[in-house]
Amino acid sequence: MEITVNKNGTELTIIPIGRIDTATAPELQTVVDENISGVTDLTFDLQKLKYLSSAGLRVLMSTQKIMNKQGKMRLVHVNEDVMDVLDMTGLTDVFEIE
């Protein structure tokens, strides 16, 4: 997996490319931990995400909890496969999805 990070003041965009599974989820967690301080507007661009496992969901969910306190978070360009996972886990109601 590759992760592209764009930070512009308090706006942060994270673009994971490939698969987020048990092996790669810690990388995403590290990227979030390193960049989230002071961010009020967080966007996950999931256009190039092929697969999202429960470990990856856990990272998104814990990030959502942090962003609930300091701003807002949204998921953009969610493809069908990832949307299925979000549907199944009931997380479509928790995340702001565009």
Partner: protein, 547 residues
């Protein structure tokens, strides 16, 4: 075998290199010394020839011109010799021998020929021939130089004008240097030329003797030095190295016996340094091996404990089949294969009362020991609250509340929880973020059942779950699984997927639950091939026979 090889190669390499260096230096020295000696000898020989020429000139002057006043012309004209002339010839031979000359002559130069007066060459000795001369004919310039020279100035060796008077040429096949000197009469006028030739090959011969002596001596010195060096290398380098080699060979034993090595090499140089380093390495190695042994023991302990944990975890799941041998109204089979020693997936089933069966399929986020601990907690809570509340919705909400209370690692678990009324066939279920179940009604085929989904358990306190009912017909089958099935991945990173799963289920849909589970398990294994099992693989199948 290899020991001798080391000794050979080291000593011979060094010796060979030294030989090449010394031979190179000797050759260079021989050339330089040879050139020097040659130049020195050449000068020396020229001086001899010069002296010979001077002396010969003097003798010739006295014998030819002064004693009986006979004069050169009378000898030439009469062609007669007397005692005085014989005397001069003997003197000439003496000079030739004394000064190691090739030949010496007295002749009178003319415009286009020379007339010999006397010669050390026996072939023309005593003859007064007027002829073109092969010996001196080519060197007219030097001859005329000699005729015009004045003894006082130009012949003085200190004034260095002798170059005009000698030349080098090959004559009669021999390389010679010839000196030309004027023979003067009582008035100091040159009347003839005295020519003294010496062989410059002699200079080379003499030089060669000197140079070969130098080479001989240096070779002897060289062989001696290299011999000394050879034994010195053997003593100070090769023997300590061989000793070190023996220590290295026995290192394995020493380390095994935890015995420090002492090489006893005290040469006071780099080899001792190497030996000391080796001794230290040996000691360090013993330390590392100790450390490694401890770590291995620790790992074995963890492995043992994990093995026990696997047993405990597996033991917590109902794994005796048939599970309810005396019940004819349903048949159930389930299996769990963790990706690591302990897993986060689990299934459960239990009779709530005589007519109701609780069924659980769940997947904890993450893997290994943390997932297993969370799984135990979840499993106990789910069973307890299902028994207590008897409604999937109420049980999930209570379990969620309990888990959210203390969940610092923010772990969660997806749960499909159902209660099957065995009398009526009504299945009441709630899905907390879990995979969709596959259902096959009697006479129909297996298909995914699009049930209502709620959030997974453990994410957020106060979540409401949705409950739904499904009427199972007699002979209906329900297949539950975790994402380990749907997301099993092969070497090409392709997912097994629910479509493939449904296809497999349909091929065995008329078989009993055990065979259905085993068929899906086999299909997943075949699909994954050599790729490592990355997720837990858990399945449950129940067939409802009806009351």
């Amino acid at each position: 075998m290899s020991k001798t090889k080391i000794i050979k190669s080291l000593a011979f390499k060094t010796t060979l290199q030294l030989f090449s260096i010394i031979i190179g230096v000797s050759l260079l020295a021989a050339v330089v010394i040879g050139i020097y000696i040659h130049n020195y000898l050449a000068a020396q020989f020229r001086n001899y020839a010069y002296e010979a020429a001077l002396k010969g000139t003097a003798v010739a002057s006295s014998k030819l011109l002064t004693s009986d006043h006979i004069g050169i012309d009378s000898y030439i004209k009469s062609g007669k010799v007397d005692e005085n002339y014989e005397n001069l010839f003997l003197n000439l031979l003496l000079i030739k021998d004394d000064y190691d000359l090739q030949r010496c002559d007295v002749f009178v130069p003319h415009e286009d020929h020379i007339t010999y007066v006397i010669s050390s060459d026996s072939q023309i000795a005593g003859e007064f021939l007027d002829k073109q001369d092969p010996y001196y004919g080519e060197e007219k310039d030097y001859v005329s130089n000699a005729m015009n020279a004045s003894l006082d100035t130009e012949l003085d060796p200190e004034k260095s004008t002798r170059q005009n008077l000698y030349t080098q040429n090959v004559k009669d096949g021999i390389k010679v240097v010839t000196y030309y000197m004027p023979v003067l009469d009582e008035n100091g006028k040159a009347v003839a030329v005295f020519a003294a030739s010496y062989s410059s090959d002699k200079v080379f011969q003499t030089m060669w003797i000197a140079v070969s002596r130098i080479i001989g001596i240096s070779l002897a010195v060289m062989v001696l030095s290299v011999g000394i060096l050879f034994f010195s290398i053997r003593k100070h380098v090769i023997k300590p190295i061989a000793q070190l080699t023996r220590s290295v060979r026995t290192m394995k034993e020493n380390v095994k016996n935890k015995q420090a090595v002492s090489t006893n090499i005290r040469t006071g140089d780099e080899i001792e340094e190497l030996a000391v380093s080796f001794e230290k390495m040996n000691t360090d190695l013993i330390g590392y091996i100790d450390e490694n042994t401890r770590m291995t023991a620790e790992k074995q302990r963890i492995d043992t404990e994990l093995g026990l944990a696997t047993g405990i975890q597996a033991g917590m799941l109902p794994d005796q089949f048939p599970a309810f041998p005396d019940r004819k109204d349903f048949d159930i089979y389930a299996s769990m294969k963790p990706a690591k020693e302990v897993g986060g997936d689990f299934y459960d089933f239990f009779l709530i009362d005589e007519n109701r069966l609780g069924i659980v399929m769940a997947d904890v986020s993450g893997k290994g020991v943390p997932a297993a601990l969370f799984m135990m907690h979840s499993k106990i809570l789910l069973k307890s609250y299902t028994l207590m509340k008897q409604s999937p919705k109420a049980a999930l909400e209570e379990v969620n509340r309990q888990i959210c209370e203390h969940n610092p690692e923010q772990m969660f678990v997806t749960v499909w929880l159902g209660v099957l009324d065995l009398k009526t066939g009504v299945l009441t279920a709630a899905n907390a973020g879990h995979e969709k179940p596959a259902v096959k009604q009697a006479g129909d085929r297996f298909a995914l059942y699009k049930d209502k989904h709620g959030l997974m358990v453990g994410y957020m306190d106060g979540v409401r779950f949705k409950e739904y009912e499904l009427q199972l017909t007699k002979g209906a089958k329900l297949f539950l699984y975790t994402d380990g099935v749907a997301e099993a991945t092969n070497a090409n990173e392709e997912l097994f997927g629910t479509d493939r799963m449904i296809d497999v289920l349909r091929t065995v849909e008329n078989k009993p639950p055990k065979e259905i589970v085993m068929a899906v398990d086999a299909a997943v294994n075949e699909f994954v091939g050599t790729a490592p099992q990355f997720d837990d693989l858990t399945m449950l199948c129940i067939e409802y026979h009806g009351a």
